[in-house]
Amino acid sequence: MALIDTINPLLTTGWAKGDAGWGIKEYEARGGYRQLRRVLESKMTQDDLIAEVKKSVLRGRGGAGFPTGLKWSFMPKAAPVKYVVCNTDEGEPGTFKDRDLMRFDPHAVIEGMIIAGYAVGAKAGYNYIHGEIFETYQRFEEALDQARAAGYLGNNVLGSEFSFDLFAHHGWGAYICGEETGLLESIEGKKGQPRYKPPFPANFGLYGKPTTINNTETFAAIPFILGMGGEAYLNLGKPNNGGTKLFSVSGHVNRPGNFEVPMGTPFSKLLEMAGGMRGGRKLKAVIPGGSSAPVLPAEIMMECTMDYDSIAKAGSMLGSGAVIVMDETVCMVKALERLSYFYYEESCGQCTPCREGSGWLYRVVHRIEHGEGRPEDLDLLNRVTDNMMGKTICALADAAAFPVRSFIKHFKSEFEYHIENKKCLVDPETQRMGSGFFKAGAV
C-alpha cells in the first residue's frame, strides 16, 4: 500500500482504513452518496449543478487542467443519447493516484460520475481502467454491483426520474488510451488511436454521441465539492487553482506515495511530507507533472509551489501531479534514454512525425548513452523535437519531445560529457546504489 499523508484531507478521507474502507457501507457511513441523494431529492437543475462546479474552479486532474464545470457546460442539451466517461487509464510514468483512489474510495468516483451524468443529461457512463491494475478493476466491478444493488445505479436512481448506469471497461496495455479520444476509440473496440479534434467529445464522443470525459480524481472531487460548496472548495487552494490535489511522489524519496495537499503548497513541503531525500542525498532534478512534463533542476524546483500556474511559470507543467524526484546518483542521459524508449514504445503509429520521430529520438539518445554520441547529436535532437512538436493529432509527440528538450536544456554539460568521454558523468557504482535495490556491499 502506498503511503499517504495530507495537509487537508478531502479526497483521501476515506483512505484511512486502507483496503478495509472501500465498501459501500463504509462509504455511506462517511457521508457517501448523500450529495447524489440531495441533488435528486432537491431536483437541482442541471444549470445550478454545473454552476456550483464552475464556482469551485475544479480543473481537470488528468493533466491538462481544463476547468471541469466549463467542460460540462459544452454538452449539447437536446441530444437524446449522451455519455459520461471516466479516464482511469493512468499510465503516465510517475502517476499512481487514481489507482489508490479506486482502491480505497471507488464509490466516490461512482457518485461523482452519477452526478456528472445528471448534470450533462447522460444515461450511461463508462470507467476506462488501466490494463495493468486488474485487481483494481475487479474491485471497481464489485463496487458497481454494490451501487446497483443499493439503487444508486440503474433505472430511476433512488426513485427519481433519473436513470443512469455505469460500466467498467478494462484496458490492456496502451499508454495512448490515456488520451481521451484514444480512450473512446478503445471503448469502441478499436486500437486506441486518437481522433483528430475538432469535433471534440462534447459533440462527437463515444459512438459519435456527445460525451463528457474526465479524470478519476476529477469525478471523485465532485461529491466533496457539493458537500462543502464550490466556493469553499476553491478557497482550499489558490485563485484559479481550486481545491486540494493528489500528488504522486516517486523516485529518490524516503516515503514514495500519494499526498493530498491544497493547491499552492510549496514543493519543499511536499518533499518533506515524502520523507525527504533517500539516504539524505542531494536533490538533482524533479519532473513535476509526469514523464511528459519538462524536467526542472533542483534549484528551480525548490522555489515552486504545487499549482498549475507556478509550475507553468517555471517552465514545466503540473500535469497529473506526478512528481518524479531524482537525486545526484542519476545519470540524466540514462534517465532520458528510458523516457525516450517509453514514447517510442507507446507511440500509436498514426501520425508520421510521432511514429518516425519517437524512434529517431530514442535511437540517438541510446547512442549517446552507449558511448556512440556525436557532437552534432544535441542539435539534431533539438531539431527533431522541433519538427515533431505541434504537428500531430494528439500530444504524444510533444510529450516525447519535452523531456528531450528539457533534459538537454538543463543538463547540457552532462550530455556533452557523455559524448566526449563516452561514459556517464555519474560513476556506475554510484548509479547502482542509488536505486536502493541492492543492500550496501551486496553484489
Partner: protein, 163 residues
C-alpha cells in the same frame, strides 16, 4: 482447457456475453478487448484461430480484432510460459530499482526479456508504466496480479511460489 484454438468454451462465451451486455446492442465490438482477454486466459495465448473466433462471435472483421490484439501489449500473440512476469523498468520504477529487479530475475531464471525458460515455466517481459510507481519495483504476474516493492527477497519468494 480447451485445445481447439478456434473454439471457445461455453464458460468463456458466457463471460464474453457479460462483457457484451455492458455496451449498446449495436456496439458488440466494444467487448473485443475483454473477449480477447478471456480467450487468452483460456488458451494461454492468442493463436490466430482464436482471434478469428472472437471476431466472428462479435460480428467484426478478423483483421479488426487482430489490430486490437496487436496494439495492446498485454495480449500474447506468441505462446508464453506458465508464468509471464512483466517488470516495469520505466524511469520512476528504475529510480527505485526496477531495472535492477529485472536484471535480478534474468540472472535467476537465466533468460532475457521476451524469452521463456526451457521448462516453459517462465516468460520475462519488460513492461511500461503500470501506474504504481510508488510501489517500485513493480511486477505483474500473468497480467493480472501486481507485486509491489520487489526487492531481492520478495523476488525470491515470488519465484518460489510459482510452481
Amino acid at each position: 482447457m480447451n485445445n481447439d484454438n478456434a473454439q471457445l468454451s461455453p464458460e468463456a462465451l458466457r463471460r464474453i456475453d457479460r462483457e457484451v451486455a455492458k455496451y449498446p446492442a449495436e456496439q458488440k465490438q466494444s467487448a473485443v478487448m475483454a473477449a480477447l482477454v478471456i480467450a487468452q486466459d483460456e488458451k494461454g495465448w492468442l493463436p490466430k484461430e482464436t482471434i478469428a473466433a472472437v471476431a466472428e462471435y462479435l460480428g467484426m472483421a478478423p483483421m479488426a480484432a487482430y489490430e486490437v490484439a496487436s496494439f495492446y501489449n498485454m495480449y500474447d500473440l506468441q505462446p508464453v510460459g506458465k508464468y509471464k512476469i512483466t517488470v516495469c523498468t520505466n524511469l520512476p520504477c528504475a529510480l527505485s530499482g526496477g531495472v535492477h529487479a529485472a536484471e535480478y530475475v534474468k540472472t535467476k531464471l537465466g533468460i532475457d526479456f521476451n524469452e521463456t525458460t526451457a521448462d516453459g515455466k517462465f516468460t520475462l517481459k519488460e513492461g511500461e508504466c503500470m501506474g504504481a510507481c510508488g510501489d517500485a519495483p513493480v511486477m505483474l504476474v500473468n497480467n493480472k496480479r501486481m507485486c509491489s516493492f520487489m526487492l531481492p527477497e520478495q523476488i525470491d519468494k515470488l519465484l518460489a511460489e510459482c510452481k
